[in-house]
C-alpha cells in the first residue's frame, strides 16, 4: 500500500470519440513526439446461446487496479523510450459499439509507441482486477472471462 497519488484510469461510462480527439490535440505542443499509437477497445455484440450482448457493465477493485496499473506503467516507461502514456478504462455501463478502453502511447519514434501500446493492452487485460458483466438484449447476463 502506498500514499503516492496514483493516476486514475477509470471513466464513468463509455469513452467518447470527442475525448479521444481532444487527447490527440492536447499533444500537439509536445514537439519531440514523432509517433502515437492508439488502441481502442469496443464492446462487441457477441452472441451467446442465441442471445445478443447489448452492453457490458464494468466493475473494479479500484485501489488494487490503480496500484497494478502504476506498476505496469513503470515497467513500460523503463522498457520503452516514451514521451507519454495515457490509459482510460470505462466503469459502469458501456453499450455495444461504444469504446470501453483507450490506450494512447507517444514517443519520438514509432516503434516504441507501437510496441508499448500493444504490451500495455495485453498486460492490463491480464493483470487489472476489472470485471465485465455482459448484459443481453431483453434480459439476463453472463460474467465475461478474458481469453
Amino acid at each position: 500500500m502506498t500514499d503516492r497519488k496514483l493516476k486514475n484510469i477509470f471513466v464513468q461510462g463509455a469513452v467518447a470519440a470527442s475525448f479521444i480527439a481532444d487527447s490527440i490535440q492536447q499533444h500537439s505542443h509536445k514537439t519531440a513526439i514523432g509517433g502515437h499509437s492508439i488502441f481502442l477497445g469496443q464492446v462487441r455484440a457477441d452472441e451467446i446461446d442465441g442471445k445478443k450482448v447489448a452492453a457490458i457493465e464494468y466493475t473494479t477493485y479500484e485501489a488494487m487496479a490503480l496500484e497494478k496499473m502504476h506498476l505496469i506503467r513503470e515497467d513500460i516507461f523503463a522498457k520503452y523510450p516514451l514521451t507519454c502514456m495515457h490509459v482510460y478504462h470505462s466503469i459502469g455501463l458501456v453499450r455495444t459499439g461504444e469504446i470501453c478502453l483507450f490506450v494512447f502511447t507517444s514517443a519520438p519514434h514509432r516503434k516504441a509507441a507501437i510496441d508499448a501500446c500493444e504490451e500495455t493492452v495485453e498486460r492490463l487485460k491480464i493483470e487489472l482486477p476489472i470485471w465485465g458483466k455482459e448484459l443481453f438484449e431483453g434480459e439476463g447476463y453472463q460474467w465475461k472471462e478474458n481469453r
Binding site: 477493485y61 476489472i130 478474458n146
Partner: protein, 77 residues
C-alpha cells in the same frame, strides 16, 4: 482481530454480498474455511485471493485490519 473481505464479479451473485467483516481469522486458510461454511456456493468458485492488494497463493497470516479480496477471473480491457 478483524478483517474486511471484499467480493467481486460472479462471487457477489453466489454469496449475495460484496463486503463482510470477519473476526478471528488469523490466516487465509481459516478465512476460506469460514467463507465456504457461510456461503457453500463459494466452494466451487474459482478465484484468487489478495491481501492488502497483493495476490497470495499459499496460506498467509492476516495482519490486523487486513483487507482481503476474492477475485474471480478478470475480464477488463
Amino acid at each position: 482481530m478483524q478483517v474486511t473481505v471484499l467480493l467481486f464479479g460472479s462471487l457477489t451473485d453466489i454469496a449475495g454480498v460484496n463486503r463482510l467483516v470477519l473476526d478471528n481469522v488469523p490466516d487465509t486458510h481459516t478465512l476460506i474455511q469460514q467463507l465456504n461454511e457461510r456461503y457453500p456456493g463459494l466452494q466451487a468458485a474459482h478465484c484468487l485471493l489478495a491481501v492488502n492488494y497483493e495476490l497470495v497463493k499459499d496460506n498467509t497470516p492476516l495482519p490486523e485490519n487486513a483487507e482481503v479480496a476474492l477475485l474471480p477471473p478478470y475480464s477488463g480491457g
